[in-house]
Symmetry: C2
Subunit: 788 residues, 2 copies
Amino acid sequence: MDYADENEPLIVERRRGSSTYGSDSRIRTSEDTIINEISDQNGSGFANQTNGGAKTFVTGSRDVLSAKYESLDYDVCENKILLDEVRSSSNNFLVRKMLARWLIFFLIGVFTALVGVAIDIAIDKIATVKYGLIKQAIDECIEEDCLYKPYLIWAGMNAGFVLVGAFLVAYIEPVAGGSGIPQVKCYLNGVKIPRLVRLKTLFVKAIGVVSSVVGGLAGGKEGPMIHTGAVIAAGISQGKSTSMRSDFRVFRYFREDHEKRDFVSGGAAAGVAAAFGAPVGGVLFSLEEGSSFWNQSLTWRIFFASSVSVFTLNIILSAYHGHPGELTYYGLLNFGHFESLNYDLFELILYAWMGAVGGLLGSLYIHVNYKLTVFRMRYIRGRWLKVIEACLVAAITATVAMLMMFCISDCRSLGQDPTENPIQMYCGDGEYSSVAALWLQNPEASVRSLFHDPPGSQNYLTLFVFTAMYLGLSIWTYGLSVSAGIFIPCLLTGAGWGRLTGMCLGAIFPNADWVDPGKYALVGAAAQLGGVVRMTISLTIILIEATGNINFGLPLMITLMTAKWVGDYFTEGFYDLHIQLSGVPLLPWEPPAMSFELSARGVMSYPVLAFSPVEKVRTIVEALTSQTYNGFPIVERVQPTKSGNGDIAAIGKLRGLILQSQLIVILQRRTYVYLETKPDNEPPIPLAEFRNNYPRYKNIKDIYIPEEEMDYTIDLRPYMNPSPYTVQDTASFPRVFRLFRALGLRHLIVVNESNEVVGMVTRKDIARYRAKSNGALGVEELNISDKL
Amino acid sequence: MDYADENEPLIVERRRGSSTYGSDSRIRTSEDTIINEISDQNGSGFANQTNGGAKTFVTGSRDVLSAKYESLDYDVCENKILLDEVRSSSNNFLVRKMLARWLIFFLIGVFTALVGVAIDIAIDKIATVKYGLIKQAIDECIEEDCLYKPYLIWAGMNAGFVLVGAFLVAYIEPVAGGSGIPQVKCYLNGVKIPRLVRLKTLFVKAIGVVSSVVGGLAGGKEGPMIHTGAVIAAGISQGKSTSMRSDFRVFRYFREDHEKRDFVSGGAAAGVAAAFGAPVGGVLFSLEEGSSFWNQSLTWRIFFASSVSVFTLNIILSAYHGHPGELTYYGLLNFGHFESLNYDLFELILYAWMGAVGGLLGSLYIHVNYKLTVFRMRYIRGRWLKVIEACLVAAITATVAMLMMFCISDCRSLGQDPTENPIQMYCGDGEYSSVAALWLQNPEASVRSLFHDPPGSQNYLTLFVFTAMYLGLSIWTYGLSVSAGIFIPCLLTGAGWGRLTGMCLGAIFPNADWVDPGKYALVGAAAQLGGVVRMTISLTIILIEATGNINFGLPLMITLMTAKWVGDYFTEGFYDLHIQLSGVPLLPWEPPAMSFELSARGVMSYPVLAFSPVEKVRTIVEALTSQTYNGFPIVERVQPTKSGNGDIAAIGKLRGLILQSQLIVILQRRTYVYLETKPDNEPPIPLAEFRNNYPRYKNIKDIYIPEEEMDYTIDLRPYMNPSPYTVQDTASFPRVFRLFRALGLRHLIVVNESNEVVGMVTRKDIARYRAKSNGALGVEELNISDKL
């Protein structure tokens, strides 16, 4: 067959020269009317949002998707060269690959735990010195009336520590900021987040977490552990590091999106497991956040990595704390041992009520933090400003603590001293200030104090002010240019008001044996955390595992359930909100309700750029240079049909799909692939060559092709995916959505009734539709912008 | 448009008039050569199995699929009448539906627990009386040398009890036999198992379990609990009972395969949760056995049902055992309280070794039981034979017990008495026979004894013989015509040799504090159970929850992992084997390795029976009468194309898909739907009418249609699914498999490059391919028979 004769470029002219559409997304034009009609039918007034993409972009809008994010590709490209490789592989190779998988999951578990332990010990050592110094200074100054001295030491140390982390995050690697959970969630959902899983990010994250926790910020090291696990998994499984520019030449057969993501989900699970001592919770976190398809053997391996991670951490931490071999440190965050967590039936109503309060407070937290985030996006844009803000918040944290210690006198006798650094302040001899006890330790220790201190360790005022202050500080802290998670601040705030609730109940029912402030602190902590993060089954199980008490599962569940319901009524979940703000095209679990009216034809991008099975080099180079599309249908052109297609041209019968990255690799290896003189029996480029270039391919501009070779042709057939998934243009949106989501696709080709390509559906085409936010039935459309 | 003009039947003549193909399956003929070629390439010698379907059917073959099983349909048929209903529904309705879902899951949890409690209490009461009588008889006869008396009492009672259950299962409802787990697994996989979730089945199951446990058979009530939960879920969610012929007219909007299966997976989870006190394990069981698609909100509801189930059970059992409100009975199977389950690092190697032993013994168990099952399928076919065999085994169990008590003298002093019915036998005064202690209680109590008895409660011989005997009896028991599960016999056998291992270790290392026979009994129990059932993450978590010790998760995991690996090397898992024997077309998680060579064209069934969008009544009636196909493409006929299609005719451009059940309902309502005089604006049959007929539709033969109406036409367009999922005929088998599995399809239409229907892929077309069983690379094909 002589395809070369008809290889005029199959590029249909673009309708609108907008450059605001990114690579995964394709141009859509007149179909906007469809959604407008739906909007108008329901009279929702959203029509103004959807009139074309020309609307001015507003920073901090939740209705805009960023054009810069691209998709991972989980679909295996079953081209000829893959089949050749599979055919020649032996049973032996399959076994070796299987063993390599288990080995990698083992290593992920071990290394995640090691990094977690290193962070934990660093924080422990530094914090001991820091709080020791402050205690010493306060003890000296309380008599000499020089309390400004310890205050300055405290504020100075806080700001100094935070400076390191903030500088690293702001100047070296911004993606290491925050907890990393939203980003990992996006990655597992199938979105490429640039630099998320690089070694440099891990480095900044680890130092950043230590600096922000010892810097006294209201943040924890648990969220970052999840990110840490993800980076480690990506690094080990790919056997190379871009940051270190080294390739260990191992595990090369795992170098594809599909395999990498499986490992990363294991890493995230190992991170959760290490953080909370919760191997099952880790698995469920990975499933809840990441899975679209349940894979039994993958789940089993993830559980293995999580268990190994908890075990390794346990061994090392037990030895570090002087009990080698005892295996009693299940996770970085230790809730301490609950003697008994019994409850009466009627208490479930109290827990539900506390869940509702958690949902309310969580929504408040999210709403204020949202406003603050938008403010930051608009006004705190310079890197140095970000660093200064972080240091300022650190200093203010110290200020709040000192002021509280100064103003509130809450003395307890030393006998039941629950803290390492009891401080007398203005208390009598043999007494210590319970306010100082709460502030002069790491927040995790304070959580434990609130869970386990005997009744009457604090008075109402102490707890109330502490909780309120900590709530405010934690809202202010998240979004700073530092690495820190929100689990601990939420748990601490919740434990605060939960314990307060327990104390009130104790005052009302003085003789009731079911009233235990520690138990109510636990329920409050769960309620607050659930109200903010809105996780369901995984959070329940993480908390069950962290308390080590299976019996208390139902109360925790009821608390989290009402927290989520009440919270969802008011705001989105915290992570979802931050994902919306960054414009990531996350796909939800289900298509939006009432999206039946939309069709594939209505959501697809068109016209589509396509190639012939045997294509001219010039056509390909021009297409790659002018566009940043990631996938191109391969079509055999037919006579244009006019059968009721309206104004959308059918391009040709579908023959396959080829990716931009494949074309780049082919063009790189020009000498023996597409030279006109190439003999017919020349083998195609082996698959290994494509793998070696993964995941960072050259830019087309960096590939030199002599002018005379521009008229040669390339046979794309050995490389293309010969049967890509397609959908009829009349298929409803929910069907398109389910197909796309269930199979983890990056490109879905839309064909007409004669199997001719008419359009392409990518992630952004799907993610841009959501249920109407004003509660009405129907869907609304988001804009896509490259300014985000 | 006047479709009626061209509505000649679109039935292409069938190539081969074989009636051995069932309704879901379509005729395949010349494509068999494809698989033969693959076989021949690898020289595997399997070609003889695949030469047509004419091979003689051999009872007990594992290479044959039964033609009688049909698929559930998870794909929503988005036809016009559904869209009309959705459009007219209010937000209020969506909320009500959501609340109804939660309510149903709550009720599933409560009722599953109630049935579980009823079974448990019945067994407890009857067994107490039974063993009391036997003990009394033995005590009286030991001096008077009349031991034949208690033996006859024992054997008689056993046979009598078992007679009830065996009769019910054999004569009333055979699907209630066994544990029900394989059947539930198939249902969750998407296979319709006739009468599996009927109320009558539940009734037989409940009575059957009580009769077989009090009848002394080596079986447990845990597996049946899972089946019980599934039936309860189906019953509650559908708001009607076919067995009771009553329709409560509630929850009608849940009457479709998709919704029903979601509830059934919740019921199975609630059953596991109630059986083992393992809510998380229940959820993971449902996921591991049933899910192909991870659905977050469904998982959360399943967890809710499981927690409610455990909670309800706990409340009632605590009250029953005289501790109301204490909530210490987490499940029906109680492993008892492990004081401490610590382990040293090197012990993990021992556990792995024990796992391997478990895998070996498990394979032995499976192999012998397999041979026995095939024997039963061939020779024990009469119902009365089945009843007799069951009673015989019950009597033999009593015989074995009496013989062991008679022959083995193993006396312990009464002080540390661990049983309710200590029997002196030939022991001295103040002593009891430890052999009798093991036999004279329910097997669950024996499991607890082996876990918790102080070291030295039995001697080596007792344990060895007991374990060997119980292993043999349990192999013989499973497959009898009784309701009983294999969890308990496996746990008991494993606990036996595990404890024996622990005792040996104790003899070798007399001063080691890590040697605890109870701990090793637990590991042995896990190893044996894992070696038989081969479940992974769910079993690990069930055991963790049943022991209440999160810390011991890693050892259990390592044990189960090696048990599975070693076992898989020798045989299939127990449930999988029984599923294979019954010929159920279960779909595995992944397509078989090396199935790339097969294409959709190679596996599809053809020719396909199709209808026009507007079709003559006669054509439809004839098609439904002559065939039992479940889905029919709707096509618009075009000129036959000859473009390289070989001998497979393209039928026409695809327009939609209609189900047999829909056609039946349409024909039933003939008067106002298809009468020739029907005015154009006559509304189509509402969706409610289709729902009310679900799931048991009339037979076409029971619908009377006057001859004069036979020439009328029906407009099928409002009812058909206008955009069914399709696949190109060139797509590889793994792609077809993934699409089918991920979307839970029942029919996948195969189209050619012009979108013309050429074939249909159903579950059996996919399930019949599996990786070669002789370890070679490649796939082999199973036969399909209607004799199974």
